[in-house]
């Protein structure tokens, strides 16, 4: 199948496709940020996207989530075309993401950050809110409980009423993931979740990613520079450079691919 390594085994190949990107191309004015990018991801997979700085990884995520409209190509999620849809509709279809440079609602509390992501599932309307109907109280209670449960998983339970912008960096990164999960996704896009973390924190993060993937039955597509994380948890990896795919395969194959080494060593060593 297009956009996948060939040697992943029949068990995985038998699963349904969740995300299918074909020939994705995007220009910023005359800068070609992404060119002919194709990837097919099956349900339950944990796929990595790596590449040197400026390779176009974040742009791919932005294209999937409707931040930009691609110059060419197609993106299908569970068979439905995404291009042209507003971002919030794409998210509501079951795709969630985090941001490379943390974008929390910094002045709001930790709990509010998560509750906001529950909003499309709030299940009550304006009149319920204004008249404090029973449905309002009931749904608020459930939303708060669910959010608290999420915060607990991420070790943020005791910080729920703290201002998000005041959290230490590592916790802000985790809150980003917790907030993304509150949108109730089936596909989670993580953009450099380990940025700025030390090796020990990265190990904890890997644990966490594996855990949420099982618990919420997620498919995960992640961008990461830190090889420690990528090589350990990704089932397969796509490598891009200058907007194009230069390699894909299982971690050990990618690591020893001369083109990949060249792309990274040309500008920076594999960390």
């Amino acid at each position: 199948m297009k956009g996948r390594p060939e040697n992943l085994g029949p068990e995985v190949e038998a699963r349904p496709v969740i995300l299918e990107i074909e020939g994705l191309t995007h220009y910023f004015d005359s800068l070609r940020a992404v060119h002919d990018f194709s990837v097919t991801i099956k349900e339950g997979e944990l796929v990595g996207l790596i590449g040197p700085n400026g390779a176009g990884k974040t742009t791919v995520f932005n294209l999937i989530t409707g931040v930009y409209r691609p110059t060419a190509g197609s993106i299908r999620y569970e068979g439905a075309p995404l291009i042209g849809l507003p971002s919030h509709e794409i998210i509501q279809m079951g795709i969630a993401r985090t941001f490379q440079n943390i974008r929390l609602f910094a002045n709001l509390t930790v709990l509010d950050n998560v509750l906001i992501a529950y909003h499309p599932h709030s299940g009550y309307g304006l009149t319920d809110a204004i008249f404090r109907s029973r449905r309002f109280r009931e749904r608020e209670r459930v939303m708060i409980e669910q959010s608290q449960e999420l915060l607990e998983i991420f070790g943020l339970a005791d910080r729920q009423n703290d201002v998000a912008g005041g959290l230490p960096y590592g916790l802000q990164r985790r809150l980003e993931i917790a907030r993304a999960l509150a949108t109730q996704p089936r596909l989670l896009l993580l953009d450099e979740p380990a940025a700025g973390m030390n090796p020990q924190e990265i190990d904890q993060l890997m644990e966490l990613i594996r855990f949420i993937r099982d618990r919420f039955q997620l498919t995960i597509f992640l961008v990461e520079h830190r090889m420690r994380l990528v090589m350990n948890i990704c089932e397969w990896i796509t490598v891009m450079d200058f907007g194009e795919i230069i390699a894909r395969g299982k971690p050990e194959e990618v690591r020893s691919n001369p083109q990949v080494i060249e792309a990274y060593l040309g500008r920076q060593a594999i960390r």
């Binding site: 989530t65 931040v67 042209g84 849809l85 507003p86 971002s87 919030h88 998210i91 509501q92 993401r97 941001f99 974008r103 929390l104 609602f105 910094a106 002045n107 709001l108 509390t109 509010d112 509750l115 906001i116 992501a117 909003h119 499309p120 709030s122 009550y124 304006l126 319920d128 809110a129 204004i130 008249f131 404090r132 309002f136 749904r139 608020e140 939303m143 708060i144 409980e145 608290q148 449960e149 607990e152 998983i153 070790g155 339970a157 005791d158 729920q160 009423n161 230490p168 960096y169 916790l171 985790r174 993304a180 509150a182 949108t183 924190e201 904890q204 644990e207 966490l208 855990f211 618990r215």
Partner: protein, 422 residues
């Protein structure tokens, strides 16, 4: 019992009830003369307008200068209803009320229809909604009014005169506020949905257009009774303390309950980071339009209250310079603080229109627009977050849910995930 007394709802309602009774008593005893009554009523009206603007700008982050335009719409529309009513003409009442109802139904229909399509072109959406609104009011003028106008008038006038007056006033206030809401929705679609950075300019343009139309109500528009730039006289003076009080409390409660809900959090998220909010699945455009419409409805309601206290409306009241008042008030009080707006709003009118007007020499008004900017500048330098920052009194503060007690299933099952520390 102590629990009951500590309940902020109880405290607030008791406090509000006390204020109501005291002011009413002072009025009945003749201690509060009409001048100071007017100051209080005016303060309440300006505060309602400013609360609406704070919802739009302070809480939702959309810088608007259109608030006085909606204030004017509410004032003139409700005034026209009662003006005509007391002159045995129910047409304005019927047209505004039934026109609004029809317009709302048609607009709901249009939007339900449009939801079935992907990526509707915004100008198309605007045009269809605009036509729906126009059709609603056209039908009201052309068919509903001739059909039921007179019989409605007879029926209402059959009631004891005190009661019929209160009903008509109520409908006039609701009608003015609804009209302001419909207009703001129509303005919001092109300006907010196109994601324009020029929302401030567009709304300022709107205020100016409204002012120009008011100057020409008797020439361009078919409302000779509004008398254009000469000012509309003969509006019944129906605003009383209970009307002011209950309108004000309604605005405060609606705004508070809205802000303390999931929608309120969505409104805040747009202010905090619109892109991130959109990428958390929030339809930021509808949140912006919603906040804009609710804020405008508040302004429209305040306009009705003000018009029936003044009994006289003049376009200059809604001109360019006064239109900055709500902005100054919310910046002073603190963007994103209802408490700040309420304090500053009343204080503003009390000081500038009450105390200073009495004690400062003639010609002081001219100096106001020299003094305001200087005071505002000082404020910006010394306390940029405003008087109250984002502080709220307990009743208006968003409740912080208590932390959960027993560990969740997740934590029991995999302690290491719950225990990871940064």
């Amino acid at each position: 019992m102590r629990q009951f007394l500590r309940n902020t709802n109880v405290t607030f309602l008791a406090g509000a009830g006390l204020v109501f009774i005291i002011v009413q008593a002072l009025i009945n005893l003749g201690i509060l003369n009409p001048y100071w009554q007017g100051v209080i009523f005016w303060g309440a009206a300006i505060t309602m307008v400013s609360l609406g603007l704070n919802l739009i700008y302070g809480f939702n982050g959309q810088f608007s200068l259109g608030q006085y335009g909606f204030y004017a719409i509410g004032a003139y529309a409700s005034a026209d209803i009662t003006y005509r009513w007391v002159r045995n003409d129910p047409s304005a009442l019927v047209v505004v009320i039934f026109g609004s109802i029809l317009a709302l139904i048609f607009m709901l229909g249009v939007n339900a229809f449009l939801r079935r399509f992907y990526g509707v072109f915004t100008p198309t959406k605007f045009l269809l909604n605009f036509l729906a609104a126009v059709l609603g009011f056209f039908l009201a003028v052309r068919f509903v009014n001739p059909a039921i106008g007179q019989s409605l008038y007879q029926a209402l006038n059959g009631l004891p005169s005190g009661i019929s007056q209160q009903i008509v006033f109520f409908l006039a206030l609701v009608g003015g506020a609804t009209l302001a809401g419909i207009v703001s929705y129509l303005l919001g679609i092109p300006v907010l949905e196109l994601g324009s950075d020029y929302f401030g300019i567009a709304t300022l343009g709107f205020t100016i257009i409204v002012k120009v139309l008011l100057d020409n109500t008797d020439t361009i528009l078919p409302f000779p009774e509004m008398k254009g730039a000469r000012g509309m006289v003969g509006i019944p003076k129906w605003t009383t303390w209970p009307w002011v009080f209950f309108s004000f409390i309604a605005v405060v409660l609606v705004m508070r309950n809205l802000l303390h809900s999931s929608t309120g959090r969505a409104i805040l998220s747009v202010r905090e980071d619109e892109r991130a909010a959109e990428l958390m699945g929030i339809d930021t455009t509808s949140q912006k339009i919603m906040a804009f419409v609710v804020g405008s409805v508040f302004a429209g309601l305040a306009g009705g209250i003000r018009a029936h206290d003044l009994a006289f409306l003049h376009p200059t009241t809604f001109g360019f310079l006064p239109s900055f008042n709500p902005l100054i008030i919310i910046v002073f009080g603190g963007l994103g603080s209802m408490t700040g707006t309420i304090i500053t709003g009343f204080f503003w009118i009390f000081l500038l229109e009450g105390v200073l007007r009495l004690y400062l020499p003639e010609g002081f008004e001219t100096w106001r627009f020299v003094i305001y900017p200087i005071v505002l500048l000082l404020m910006m330098l010394l306390r940029p977050q405003g008087l109250m920052g984002r502080y709220e009194i307990a009743f208006l503060r968003r409740p912080l849910p208590p932390p959960k007690k027993e560990p969740s299933l997740a934590q029991k099952l995999i302690p290491e995930a719950g225990e990871v520390k940064a």
